[in-house]
């Protein structure tokens, strides 16, 4: 069971949280929506990175403070590398 450090509440068991899938998928602006193709819209809606390695993803402390935040987690080892607030860009882990 994952141990996730909620930025607001501290480390808690995974079952207090809900998964929010891939992070940093920007919703197309109205202008973009008006010019983009169906295929480009499908890319936003459905296409996912799904990496075997570090995944930047969203979680919400749904059985706690109900706050959303981002997590960098390794999808093979399940190691949680970084927890960072919603709105912050994905950390560049290569340089660490």
């Amino acid at each position: 069971m994952l141990l996730i450090s909620c930025p607001y509440c501290g480390p808690r068991d995974e079952h207090e949280f809900s998964y929010g899938h891939e992070a940093h998928i920007a919703r197309p602006t109205l202008e973009q929506q008006q010019t983009m193709s169906d295929a480009e819209w499908a890319d936003y809606l459905f296409m996912r990175k799904n990496p075997k390695g570090v995944h930047f993803e969203r979680w919400v402390h749904s059985r706690g403070c109900r706050q959303w935040f981002n997590v960098a987690r390794h999808t093979v080892t399940h190691e949680i590398i970084k927890v960072y607030p919603m709105g912050e860009p994905a950390p560049n882990l290569e340089q660490k």
């Binding site: 069971m1 994952l2 141990l3 068991d13 809900s18 929010g20 919703r27 197309p28 109205l30 929506q33 983009m36 169906d38 819209w41 499908a42 809606l45 969203r58 919400v60 749904s62 109900r66 706050q67 959303w68 080892t77 399940h78 190691e79 949680i80 919603m86 709105g87």
Partner: protein, 1004 residues
């Protein structure tokens, strides 16, 4: 008391003053407090205890612990019968009832043993090659195969016992209460760390429990254990859990453990039977010991064939000889300790047969000095005796150890003990997905590097370190180091000491002990006892190309039995490596999957069964409904009043009465389950604009509006009425089932996409009880109890809300309608709910006010064609599909799902549309879910164009009514379609969804 013929006169950790009566296969025996079932059976001379899985071979006890493959027992009777329990791990208690299994009619005479005679025809995988004729014959063969397979018999009655679950947290968790584990717990505990020590046995000591004369710090080893236990018990931050197995090592240093609380006391004990522990530790010290490997020699499964270490445990710990005359077969020095201990206990050791050419180690010498014959460079080639070992054949090994030569020596004995070396118990280490590595010196797998994030260290025998002094030192260091790392600075003391073991000579790896016949053609060399996998089966798998470890396991079923290959995996792997001409690590390792030993289903479920399976939600006046005879239905977690049958009424009668009364006069429904969300903030209106398809900015305070929410895929997600309470304040309602989902949805979009928007969401579902008065007389009823507002149409028009008092209680009334009739939805604080409900009921008495349930609610809304999200929709319907083109804010620049409505398939004009459906025979009520076709064929397949989403008898329309989604349905008005179901075909006409053209209008 019957004589325990193999019980030694003295010794052991049993309490001879407390005899314990138990039964096995209906026969009564006595053992002592402290016995295991296995030791008690052995003491009574019972060596035949079970039958193997496939060949039904007679089997005896092999081990003294969790690795037991053979002695699987049914414990208890009736609703407490528990199959497949390992005899060495069953603690004896007075009245214990046990039985052998997988035999018929009796253990001694088992008809299934015919398989053994035919075993030549049943090699591994034989079933893949046969039972293929006739084409559908498998179901027939399978019946017999299933009956022959299986082991024990499960109870068909409900398990009467209770189970418990608990979470634990600690700095240092120590798994294993042997010398290394105790040392670790002592060191960490003394330093001040919070420690949990778990051990699967009934008492601490681990391997020390089986020792005869070891000492630690100059005193008897078990005295040291007792002192340590007392010291640990006195530490407030240390918890010791015995009879507790750590069976799974999960992500982020969490271990699952099962504590057996009353299994050793029996069914009369109070309290939960077992407890599931989830323990999260900062550091885990694995002191899980090691398991002896048996040797793979001919006929090695005869009852009386046992692990050398197990024999030693029975003598030293339980004061029981496994038999009267023993032969030991070994490839290493440790079995000589068994010979010496047997000699010390006065049990006759006929010989030690050593596979090594010329063993000269200290223990070997000591054994010889005791006058025990050591037959070097030799093998056991046969074991005679079907249900009890009677004799062994011993021959000399050839120079390469691959065959035997010379004359045969027959040695009379009733027990054969074998030792093929020791395999560290690396299960938990491996469960973290860390690797194990092959150690060429030990000829065993030892733990490899640990996984990142899984902070653990293996110590002692679990790591391949077997000397007592080394184990004590390693355990101490690991415990002290972990505590130090976490900042605990009290003195950890120093490691306990023990005298060194005599130097041992290396073992001789010999993965198949040769016999005078080729393997597979004489006696059987068992590798996996329980699943009857022999060395010949491994060879067959190799011959047929099932080379990888996993293919080998799956093809032969090796290692797949209830012991999960604890005694067989390495032997099988090594045999395969030999066949492939590879080193053992090249062939691979098996994956150790949880659990370490089988764990009761009930303990995983814990108390979360029955009513606790899922929380039950009830409205504030649930009891009123129950008192008035309501039938309830489950809607999500809610229990909702379904209908209120009066004496003699069928459901149909009751629903008709409720629907009719509502349409004719006034009905009242408890709608408290509706989801309600309070939305506030300067950007509240902006936000609603984004989540609903229609426009919200211009809605005036005091007004209500209906809306659809879509997912970003454009499909309807939820619906409801939202009201503007003030400029920056809205009250949203959602479907009953969608309440939690919608709140999460709003929060997600707010926090993740538009965090700068100032808007706040609060669930108020439980803060408002909601009673909807419906029907032409609803205003008259309400007038009698309301104060503070004018209910007239002019003062309080449709789609608006007002604050007021109802029956003296502050209330908020919404003029919205889910029936199309005149309607007032009265919202009051839940603590006053019953008072207000009663007041409304008495005020309505003169109008025949009728409480109605969810079924009538469904009929009433369907009569006017109102949709229910989740019934008319299934995640594939857009608002446009539902005929709500008007609800899409054309002028609105953006909302969630908007762009998806423009996709080629979503924008098609001939998608499935929601329409009404009128059966040709007005009496015929269609089943919901009935499929619709344009053209009926004699038999399927037929092309379906839609299905019925809602269907009822409408007492007001006086006919059946239905709603359906049909391809291009809105352009097929008046067309007749067909519904083939349940062996008939019903014709129906596509119609509009308002079935009460003359009915009461919503704003009447």
């Amino acid at each position: 008391m019957s004589a325990q013929k193999n019980r030694l006169a003295t010794g052991g950790r049993i309490d001879r003053s407390r005899p314990v009566r138990f039964t096995f296969d209906g026969k009564a025996y006595y053992g002592y407090q402290g016995d295991s079932l296995a030791s008690a059976l052995l003491a009574n001379g019972v060596t035949l205890v079970g039958r193997s899985f496939k060949y039904h071979r007679p089997r005896g006890i092999v081990s003294a612990g969790a690795e037991e493959p053979n002695a699987l027992i049914e414990v208890g009777t009736g609703n407490r019968r528990e199959p497949n329990t390992r005899a060495p791990q069953i603690e004896l208690y007075d009245g214990l009832t046990t039985a052998s299994q997988n035999r018929w009619p009796s253990l001694d005479f088992d008809l299934g043993a015919v398989n053994s005679c035919l075993s030549r025809f049943f090699p591994s995988g034989f079933y893949y090659k046969t039972f293929k004729w006739p084409k559908d014959g498998w179901l027939f063969y399978e019946k017999f195969i299933r009956r022959m397979a299986g082991l024990g018999t499960g109870s068909t009655e409900a398990d009467p016992d209770r189970y418990d679950k608990v979470y634990g947290h600690c700095d240092v968790m120590v798994v294993g209460g042997g010398p290394a584990g105790i040392a670790a717990a002592l060191a960490a505990g003394r330093a001040g760390a919070r420690v949990v020590l778990v051990d699967e046995q009934s008492e601490l000591g681990g391997s020390l429990l089986s020792e005869r004369d070891r000492s630690i710090d100059g005193k008897p080893a078990m005295d040291w254990v007792a002192a340590a236990e007392a010291e640990l018990a006195a530490m407030p931050e240390v918890k010791v859990l015995t009879r507790t197995t750590a069976f799974a090592y999960l992500d982020a240093n969490m271990l699952s453990c099962v504590e057996r609380i009353t299994d050793h006391i029996g069914p009369n004990a109070s309290g939960p039977r077992q407890r599931l522990w989830r323990i999260r530790a900062r550091e885990v010290i694995l002191a899980t010991g090691s398991i002896e490997r048996p040797l793979v020699y001919s006929d090695n499964d005869r009852p009386g064939c046992m692990l050398a270490s197990a024999g030693r445990t029975y003598v030293n710990r339980y004061g029981t000889a496994p038999g009267q005359r023993v032969v030991i077969l070994t490839n290493n020095d440790t079995a000589y300790q068994t010979a010496l201990d047997f000699a010390a206990a006065g049990v006759s050791v006929a010989a030690v047969v050593d596979l090594r050419a010329n063993p000269q180690g200290a223990l070997v010498q000591a054994t010889r000095d005791k006058g025990i014959e050591v037959i070097a460079n030799s093998a056991i080639t046969h074991v005679k005796g079907a249900k009890q070992v009677k004799e062994v054949d011993v021959m000399s090994l050839s120079a390469d150890g691959k065959s035997v030569t010379g004359g045969v020596r027959h040695i009379y004995c009733d027990t054969v003990l074998s030792s093929g070396g020791w395999q560290p118990t690396v299960h938990l280490h491996s469960q973290t997905r860390a690797k194990v590595v092959w150690n060429e010196e030990l000829h065993a797998f030892v733990p490899g590097p640990v996984m990142p994030g899984q902070n653990n260290v293996s110590v002692g025998a679990a790591k391949g370190v077997f000397g007592l002094a080394d184990c004590l030192a390693e355990g101490h260091e690991a415990g002290a180091e972990a505590a130090r790392r976490f900042g605990f600075t009290n003195a950890a003391g120093s490691a306990a000491g023990a005298e060194a073991e005599p130097a041992a000579e290396p073992l001789r790896p010999m993965w198949i002990v040769p016999s005078d016949k080729p393997v597979g053609q004489g006696g059987k060399h068992f590798v996996d006892y329980q699943n009857d996998v022999t060395a010949a089966d491994v060879m067959l798998a190799h011959r047929e190309g099932y080379l990888s470890v996993e293919h080998l396991k799956r093809y032969t079923t090796m290692g797949m039995a209830t012991d999960q290959g604890k005694t067989s995996n390495v032997n099988a792997l090594a045999i395969m490596a030999g066949l492939r001409g590879m080193n053992i690590p090249e062939v691979g390792t098996t994956t150790f999957r949880p659990p370490y030993t089988p764990v009761t289903f009930g303990v995983f479920a814990g108390p979360d069964k029955g009513d606790f399976l899922d929380p039950i939600r009830k409205t504030p006046i649930h009891q009123w409904h129950a008192d008035h005879g309501a039938a309830f239905e489950c809607v999500g977690q809610w229990h909702r009043a379904w209908y209120y049958p009066k004496a003699g009424e069928s459901m149909h009668d009751a629903v008709n009465r409720e629907v009719k009364a509502t349409r004719d006069s006034v009905g009242i429904v408890d709608a408290s389950t509706l989801g309600k969300i309070d939305i506030q903030g300067p950007d509240a209106a902006w936000f609603l604009n984004m989540v609903y398809t229609n426009a919200w900015t211009k809605l005036e305070p005091g007004k209500c509006r209906y809306g659809f929410m879509c997912g970003e895929d454009g499909m309807v997600f939820d619906d409801g009425v939202t009201s503007r309470i003030a400029e920056n304040h809205f009250h949203m309602t959602t479907t009953t089932g969608g309440a939690a989902r919608v709140l999460s949805w709003l929060e997600e979009w707010h926090q993740c996409e538009w965090p700068d928007r100032k808007v706040y969401f609060t669930s108020v579902t439980e803060q408002w009880a909601v009673f909807a008065l419906n029907g032409p007389n609803s205003r008259k009823v309400l007038e009698k109890v309301v104060s503070g507002i004018d209910l007239s149409e002019e003062a309080f028009p449709f789609m608006s809300w007002r604050d007021c008092e109802v029956a003296g209680v502050k209330a908020r009334i919404f003029r919205i309608s889910f029936t199309g009739a005149l309607s007032f939805e009265v919202n009051v604080p839940p603590s006053y709910a019953l008072h207000v409900w009663r007041a409304l009921m008495s005020a309505g008495e003169e109008f025949n006010i009728t409480p109605y349930g969810t079924e009538a609610l469904h009929v009433l809304r369907a009569e006017k064609g109102f949709v229910i999200v989740g019934q008319e929709t299934d995640g594939t319907m857009t608002p446009q599909d539902l005929g709500f083109e008007w609800i899409i804010g054309k002028a609105k620049p953006d909302f969630i799902g908007r762009r998806s409505h423009l996709r080629s398939d979503t924008a098609r004009p001939d998608r499935k549309h929601l329409v009404g459906l009128l059966t040709e025979n007005p009496q015929e009520v269609l089943p919901e879910g009935a499929q619709i076709v344009e053209h009926v064929k004699d038999k399927p397949p037929m092309t379906m164009i839609g299905h019925v989403t809602s269907s009822y008898w409408s007492p007001n329309a006086n006919r059946s009514i239905a709603m359906a989604v049909i391809k291009n349905g809105r352009n097929r008005m008046g067309q007749t379609v067909y519904l083939p179901y349940d062996g008939k075909v019903v014709a129906a006409r596509i119609a509009k969804t308002d079935f009460l053209q003359d009915g009461a209008a919503a704003n009447a």
